[in-house]
Amino acid sequence: MTLDSLSFTVQMGLLYAIPAMAVLLAFRVVGFPDLTPDGSFTLGAGVSSILLLQAWPELAATCVAVGAGTLAGIVTALLHTRLRISKLLSGILVMTMLYSVSLRAMGTSNLSLRGVSTLLGSLSSRASGPLPIATITLITGIVFLGLWTFLKTGVGLRLRAVGDSESVTEHRGLRREPFYILGLGATNGLAALGGALVAQYQGFVDVSMGTGLVIICLAAVIIGETIVRPDRVGLLMAAPVLGMIIYQGVIAVALRMNLAAADLKVATAALALLFVAIDRLRVQKGAAGRQIGNRNI
């Protein structure tokens, strides 16, 4: 691998680490297997791109995208708590609707951002020279620190408790709904942020760019967890970041070794399966994990 492609891999890894942390938040912390991020990732990319094309300020466009994603997450949470639709189906319904919403908003199935000033671009140029990796590291680092800090506050502890066991919420008199709204709002807001940044980084939006995102992120979470065995919140949050960088590296190598792009999804699933198998075999050998997080999902 050349230095260039290595740097590209790390950049993609750090960018996709944002939705990966979001997926970890839903699946492992809140205990809600949310599939909405497939849709909210694209929504974030689409919304921010349309606004950038209309010459909105970069930061404002990105913030509106995050807000749109957050709303989508709240809808998923409410479908589950108010209409008692299962968690999985609530996410699938919203994800499916978001595909049309994104397509309608964009007016076309793909948009180019060539020549448009973007958040990544403007931050990078200000940092003297083309250094997107520094900018990306900074943004991902802020998200990481923000989540880590939040999960150690009073509300953060309660959010973790809601995902951990039914019994604790019942005994402590916690209503689940506000925490699902909070958790899924944050998850999908972050997924939308990831989508907006990826679109700005690659210079275009495609309406199907979010398809399969949750699976990729889960693969990254599993890879990361197999390696770091998180028994603390800090390590738990680090798992998807590390996992995503490794995932992007493996995929880059596979493509270089003439893996057809059509086979990419099989490769992703196989990679996730491989790490699950490693994890399970290790557990059988008696080195049972002291991992935290909702392992039911």
């Binding site: 009073g154 502890l157 951990d164 019994s167 604790v168 005994h171 008199g173 002291r290 935290i292 392992r295």
Partner: protein
Amino acid sequence: MATETSSVDKARQPAALRLEDVHFAYPAAGESSHDVMLGLDVQIDYGKIVGLVGRNGSGKSTLLDIIRGKLVPQRGQVRVGKTLVSADSRLVNLPQVGVISQRPDAGLAPTMTVYENYVLATDHERSSLRWAYSSQRARGCRDLLAKANMDLEVKHNEQVRFLSGGQQQALSILLALQSSAPILLMDEPTAALDPFAAERVLDLAISETDSRKGSLLLVSHRIRDIVERCSRILVLRGGKIGEDIDTAARTPTEQDLLGIMANSTSHPRTLGGTAQ
């Protein structure tokens, strides 16, 4: 009952638990329904340790669920402290009730640490975005854990699921006792414990109840525990409080109580009963 509470206190403070004319039936197939409560009346004052006994199917679990607001009676009123829980087949408010059950990890978050569980139970600022870890809190946590006398205090940074069953049970009880709930329900709290751990866990619950103002309702089939530790014993029978025994007036023996539970009507009313 409640002879040591002055009448002034009684007027100012509502009872910890008050059920009035509670009727409850489980819906059943067809016309019939399965009646469990037939006009049950009971009042428990603050600071009391009360035992509840009854044979299988007498409605003990149903009664606990009614108190917690999980089941709503078809008729009658349920109050926990100042909170009206249900009235005339309508759920009004979910009450603040501490619950200790036979599941040792009741109310505990298994993959969170002992300390984090302590914070969940003691931090009453619901929407606090403040950092949850402080040395002052950690000290409070260790002091509380030391009360169990089960080596819990050295495990305050350990995930709860790695504690033994007895340690989890003790932690569950200690944390339940931190709540300011007017009443604490203990449903077969020692079923899963060895006799030594069971003793210790019950002693702990009783001594903690003495130092807080709420009361304790203990449900157990271990009649000896009830007879030895409760100041008042309620026998649930025929959908009502069939017998209300003040153990201060006369402590029944295990045999007495078993007799009362088994018997339906023909026992002498010599145990200070104020039934119905």
